[in-house]
């Protein structure tokens, strides 16, 4: 299954429309999308408006490849389970988010393992192809905890406040 997700805050019809077309062109009948409150209704893939947080995690874990906006919830969860991730960042000028921070996120992730960036719609198909070839691998997934140096410092500060 290929899981398409655009988070839950704002619609992202551009990605949903592109993936609907891609599913049809490539005869993939196992594409499933979380479309949020967008206006575009997919014709060639199953969809849901919004998954609960736990269903989201479950669906992420089952997916062969994840195609998503460049949101940190998706990025971190994909990294923790070792699933290849295709990212199309939201663009502020097109009303897709409140700022261009997803472009910054995408650039930061550009050369990370198992991340395939689509800077434009035209790059999506190739990025998905690469992601499918790469496949899942738990070997280089990252831990579900932050850097201990960071959490230890927070911990010390909290304990200090408790005195």
């Amino acid at each position: 299954m290929i899981f398409v997700t655009i988070g839950s805050m704002f619609p992202f019809d551009r990605l949903i429309r592109e993936m609907d077309r891609w599913a049809n062109d490539n005869r993939r009948y196992d594409v499933f999308a979380q479309i949020g409150n967008g206006d575009y209704i997919p014709a060639n893939m199953d969809y849901v408006r919004k998954l609960s947080q736990s269903d989201f995690t479950y669906t992420m874990a089952k997916a062969e490849v994840i195609v998503a906006h460049a949101g940190m919830g998706t990025v971190i969860t994909a990294g923790q389970i070792g699933t290849p991730l295709v990212l199309l960042p939201r663009i502020h000028a097109w009303g897709e988010h409140t700022s261009d921070h997803q472009i910054a996120t995408a650039n930061w992730l550009r050369d990370k393992p198992r991340v395939f960036l689509a800077d434009t719609d035209a790059d999506l198909s190739r990025a998905i192809q690469l992601a499918l070839q790469t496949g899942k691998d738990g070997a280089d997934r990252f831990s579900d905890k932050a850097d201990p140096a960071f959490t230890n410092r927070l911990r010390t500060a909290i304990l200090d406040y408790m005195r």
């Binding site: 988070g7 839950s8 805050m9 609960s52 947080q53 736990s54 269903d55 949101g71 940190m72 919830g73 998706t74 990025v75 971190i76 969860t77 990294g79 700022s99 261009d100 921070h101 997803q102 910054a104 996120t105 930061w108 990252f142 579900d144 905890k145 932050a146 850097d147 201990p148 140096a149 960071f150 959490t151 230890n152 410092r153 927070l154 911990r155 500060a157 909290i158 406040y161 408790m162």
Partner: protein
Amino acid sequence: MSNSRIMAIASGGGHWVQLLRLRPAFDDMDVFYVSLDPSSATDVPDRIYYTVREASRKQKLGFFIAGAQLLWIMLKERPRVVITTGSAPALISLILAKYVLRAKTIWIDSIANAECLSKSGQKAGQFADIWLTQWPELAGDGPDKPNYWGAVL
């Protein structure tokens, strides 16, 4: 008489995922959690978990309802420390912590904000005892700049 309760709060999606990654900082303490999605309770078994409604800064009514829910939770639990990874509802909880409970407050701006702090994060500066960005480029020494202690990734 003094309790040592910690409130860990985050909006849904990326904010919540980042808060979970920080758990080694407080998970064995007397912590309770607050977020938006009822199903997130499964991420923090054996802990008290509350939900509040989404509060965007643009939507006055939602902001007011979330504020009332947070006030009720915080008066009931009386945390001494509030720690958060954002966003808008968390900012309300920081203000309540500061002025109603006189609790200590820790704001960790989302790692998504690599080029400038979130709007909530900018406002949080005046209510946070510890005010952090996850990007060293955004940190500074003056009172108008957050500190950098590390990142969730």
